[in-house]
Amino acid sequence: MDSTLRMLYHLAQGPLVWAAFILFWVGSVYQVARLLSLTRKMETRRRGRAPDEGPLSAARSTDGQPGRWSARLRLSIAGTHSLTIGVSVIFHTLLFMVPLFLLAHNILVDEAWGVSLFAFREKLSDYLTWLFLACVLFFLLRRILLARLRAISSFQDYYILFLAAAPFASGLLAYHQIFDYRTMITLHMLLGEIMLVSIPFTKIAHLFLFFVLRFLVNHEYSLGSGRRAWR
């Protein structure tokens, strides 16, 4: 048993890290390139932006008055679903920030390459991890309790939420040395690697798809140039 764990530990902290990072980057570049190849640049816009009349136009910032932005926000999806959007913004920010600015991660990077990012105090990372897990719980309860979410939920929705939460939960348990540390840290590394590899190949790909669909593809709600159309 102990030798299996030792082998897994060495595998997870060595070759699998490289494999995960390589698969993540190759997969991500492939997905973005494929998305761009599936769309083409348009000569002219086919569908314009939202008409200038209507409730949004009154809120549109034309003279830069400070009140206008709050009106825009109120009329946007953040006004309709303030709580969900708020939790979602916190969730996605922490998903990137906590692992990137974690002291332990940065020490490892520093030991390996002699460079590192700025790191949060350990206590802060601890609180932020709890906050992140609370956001996960919010999404999970929402998915279980709301009929409209149950109507469209599939196994993959639960799976990607698990993939996001598992490295955080196992990292927290390892940091607090709850259960066997060696097992927890091995599990933490393996789960993190599975999560990384899954990004380009599961629904987590909305990480790229969001930007392509909202910023590049032309439609009424395009946020960016919106100068591409589906082939």
Partner: protein, 139 residues
């Protein structure tokens, strides 16, 4: 006088068979868009309130824009066009009765939901499955 539009379809004898190859051909023309849209949909349900039919039907999930595109074009795509008439008739009720294609639905991820519902309408129509409004002029 019925309070809803009658969806009984007048089907002629030669059009009863469904042509999966033709459906697949129509789906393939928009394969990229369908595939990416299905993957991009994170099933967040935030599109619900943008549908006036959803808000005016006691928030019944079947009026949610995501539900409508997943169970019409999404279903046709997953089954690769291999569906029977009963299935197409279910889709017909979704894309004509539960959606009026007002194109006001808002997706956080930028999915073109009206475009996908419109495609499902086209596919149903190609198989002779569409609502009979009683004013077709055929008789």
């Amino acid at each position: 006088m019925p309070d809803r539009v009658a969806t009984e379809v007048t089907v002629s004898a030669e059009s009863t068979a469904v042509d999966p190859a033709r459906i697949k051909q129509m789906l393939n023309r928009h394969k990229a868009k369908i595939k990416i849209s299905l993957r991009a949909c994170v099933h967040c349900s935030l599109c619900a309130e943008s549908c006036f039919l959803y808000t005016s039907h006691q928030q019944a999930p079947r009026y949610m824009p995501a539900y409508k595109f997943i169970h019409s074009t999404g279903l046709l795509y997953k089954k690769k066009g291999k569906v029977d008439r009963a299935c197409l008739e279910k889709i017909r009720d979704i894309v004509w009765q539960d959606c009026v294609l007002c194109t006001r639905c808002y997706c956080v991820c930028g999915i073109d939901i009206p475009g996908l519902i419109s495609l499902a309408r086209g596919i149903c129509r190609s198989q002779g499955v569409y609502p009979d409004f009683g004013v077709s002029g055929d008789g």
